[in-house]
Symmetry: C2
Subunit: 328 residues, 2 copies
C-alpha cells in the first residue's frame, strides 16, 4: 500500500480531465477512479491505468478513496452532487454561483457535519485564490479599496452571443481588463469603477460569405447588457485563423487593493493570474485542496469549509518542517 | 467593556510606531499600552490616549491584554523577547533571520506550548505574505519554478556601504528588480537566475565638495559582494534633492511561479507589493495576525505557529458568514 492520498474524480468534462492530469503531476496523490454518468466504456480516458466507473457504483469506493473531487457544473450538478457525495466522502468542489454560496454552504455543511466528512466548497481561482486575496488585503490594509479585474479571458456566454448575430459564421469574445483602469487603481486614487469601466471586450469574428461586416459590427457593439456599455472591438478573421489562434481557453485577472497607512503612504497589494488554460488551472487548485480535505478530516475538522478556513500549509505536499526551513 | 481585541505593542521603533497607527485604523482592535525599555516619559507617542509603560511592568498586564505585538529587531531583541513574552501572552512577531527560523520556532514553541499561549512567528511580507504565495503556488502548480524579486526597495545595508566611500557626503541605495529578468520569467521559459541577475542597484550620492565623482563611481561599482556582481547605476544629486526625493522607506517585490499543466499550457501566478512605507506595511500585517493569535488561542491551538498554520479567515475582522456572502 502506498502512502499517497487516494482520490476519485466525479465527472470527466474539462475540469475532470484537468484534474486527472494535475493528479498525475504530483508525487503524493493517487487517482483511484473517474466516476461518470455515461457508459464508462465510452469515456475514452487517454491516461494509462486510470479506470472509469459508473457514478452509481461510487458508494462501493468509500474505503478506497480519501477525497472525492467533484468536477461537475454549478448550475445543476453540484447542488445535487456535493451533498450526495459529502454523505460518503471528503469532497472538494468548485461551486461558483456567487449569489447562492451561503445557501449551498448550509446544505453541504448539514450533511458533512452529520456524516463526519470534510467538504471544501467553492475552490478554484474565483471563487478561490482571488477570494483569499480580497480578504487578506482587506484585513491588512484597513483603509483602502479592493478591485477585481478579469481577463484576458475567453467568455463562453459572450462568444455564444456574437455567434448568434446575423451573418456571423463563427467567433469568440475575450474580456480584457482596461489598462487605463488598472493604472488608475495602481496610482492610489481609489477610483469608483463599474464593471464596464474596468473591462473592454474584443471579438474575433468569422463572417459568412458576402455578409455585411459593418452591420455585424454595429449589431454586436449595440447589443444590450452584453456589449452596449463596454468599449468593444470587433475584428474579422478567417476560419483558419480562428482555429489556429483562438483554440485555447485562456483566462486570468487581478485582485488589487490600494490602501493608505500612516499619514499618507500608498500601499499596493496585487495578485494576478495569467492562464493558458482556465480549466486546467482550476482543477490544479482543486487537486491541491484535496490534501487539505484529507488532513482536516483526519483532525476531525468536519463540515463544509471554504478557502477561508484552510491554512496554507494544508494544501502543500511538503511537511511543516520543510516549509519553515525552506519556504518561510 | 468593549468587545475589541486588546493589544499591547512592545518596542517603539519604526515597526512599533507603524503598529500603533495600524491599530487605530481598525474598528475591532484596541491598543492598551506601548511597552518600552526606555523611560516611558520620554517616548513621545504622538497618538492621543496611548500610554507608555516600562517593559518590566508588562507582566502586570496579562489580564488586560489579549495579544502582544513584538516589534523589536531579529538580531538581538526577538530571540530573547518572544520566548519571554510567550510565557505570559499570545504574541505576534516579525522574526526574519531566514536561516535561524527552525531554531527560533523550537525555542518559542516549547514556551508557548507549556504556557498555553499562541505565538505566531515570522509575520510580515517576507517572511510572511511572500512565504504564503511561494507555498500555495508550489502546491498548485506542481510542475514549475518559484521566483522571488525584491524592490524597488531602499536597502539599509547598501546605503551604509555607499556612505562609507571616500568623498561621499550622503547617499541611498535602491534594489530594483530587473525588468528583463521579470519578462523572462513571465514568458514561461523558467530561466536559472542568480540574485544578481534578478536585481540591479541604483545609488543616489551627495558628493563632498571637490570630490572626484568618477573615483566615487568606480569605487562603488567595483565594491565586492555589495555591487561588483550587479548592474549598478550611480547618480549624483544635491543634499536638497536627497531630502526631498529620498526620505521614504519604500519597498516591495514579486513572487512569481511559472508552471505548466496538461500538454504545454503556461500558467503564471504572481503576487506583488509596491509599498511607500515598508515598516508601516509590515506592522499592518502583524496587526492583522493579532486577530488570528487571539482566535487560535481561544480555540486552544497553542504553541508556535507560522503564517502556514493560519487560515486566511482568521486574520479578517469580518465574520465567516460575511466572508462567504460578500467576499467569496
Amino acid at each position: 500500500m502506498s502512502n499517497k492520498i487516494k482520490l476519485g474524480v466525479v465527472g470527466y468534462g474539462n475540469l475532470g480531465q484537468g484534474a486527472v492530469k494535475a493528479i498525475k503531476a504530483t508525487d503524493d496523490l493517487e487517482l483511484v477512479a473517474v466516476f461518470t454518468r455515461r457508459d464508462p466504456e465510452t469515456l475514452g480516458i487517454d491516461e494509462p491505468g486510470v479506470q472509469a466507473v459508473h457514478i452509481d457504483e461510487a458508494s462501493d469506493y468509500q474505503k478506497a478513496i480519501d477525497v472525492m473531487l467533484l468536477c461537475g457544473g454549478s448550475a445543476t450538478d453540484l447542488p445535487e452532487q456535493t451533498p450526495h457525495f459529502a454523505s460518503m466522502f471528503n469532497t472538494v468542489d468548485s461551486y461558483d454561483t456567487h449569489a447562492k454560496i451561503p445557501e449551498f454552504y448550509q446544505s453541504v455543511n448539514e450533511v458533512a457535519a452529520n456524516h463526519h466528512t470534510t467538504a471544501i466548497i467553492s475552490v478554484g481561482w474565483d471563487p478561490g485564490l482571488f477570494s483569499i486575496n480580497r480578504v487578506m488585503a482587506d484585513a491588512i490594509l484597513s483603509n483602502g479599496e479592493n478591485y477585481s479585474f478579469w481577463g484576458k479571458g475567453l467568455s463562453q456566454g459572450h462568444s455564444d452571443a456574437v455567434r448568434r448575430v446575423n451573418g456571423v459564421k463563427n467567433g469568440v469574445q475575450y474580456t480584457i481588463p482596461s489598462e487605463e483602469a488598472i493604472e488608475q487603481v495602481r496610482s492610489g486614487v481609489n477610483p469608483e469603477l463599474s464593471t464596464s469601466e474596468k473591462h473592454r471586450r474584443v471579438c474575433y469574428i468569422v463572417p459568412q460569405e458576402d455578409a455585411d461586416k459593418s452591420a455585424i459590427e454595429h449589431e454586436i457593439k449595440t447589443m444590450p447588457n452584453y456589449f452596449a456599455d463596454y468599449d468593444t472591438e470587433v475584428n474579422f478573421i478567417s476560419e483558419e485563423e480562428l482555429e489556429r489562434d483562438h483554440a485555447k481557453a485562456p483566462h486570468g485577472g487581478f485582485v488589487i487593493r490600494s490602501g493608505k497607512t500612516g499619514k499618507d503612504n500608498n500601499q499596493l497589494y496585487e495578485f494576478s493570474l495569467t492562464l493558458d488554460s482556465n480549466p486546467e488551472f482550476t482543477s490544479s487548485v482543486l487537486v491541491a485542496y484535496a490534501r487539505a480535505a484529507h488532513r482536516m478530516s483526519q483532525e476531525k475538522q468536519f463540515g463544509a469549509k471554504t478557502v477561508y478556513d484552510v491554512a496554507p500549509g494544508y494544501i502543500s505536499p511538503r511537511s511543516a518542517e520543510e516549509l519553515r526551513k525552506d519556504y518561510l
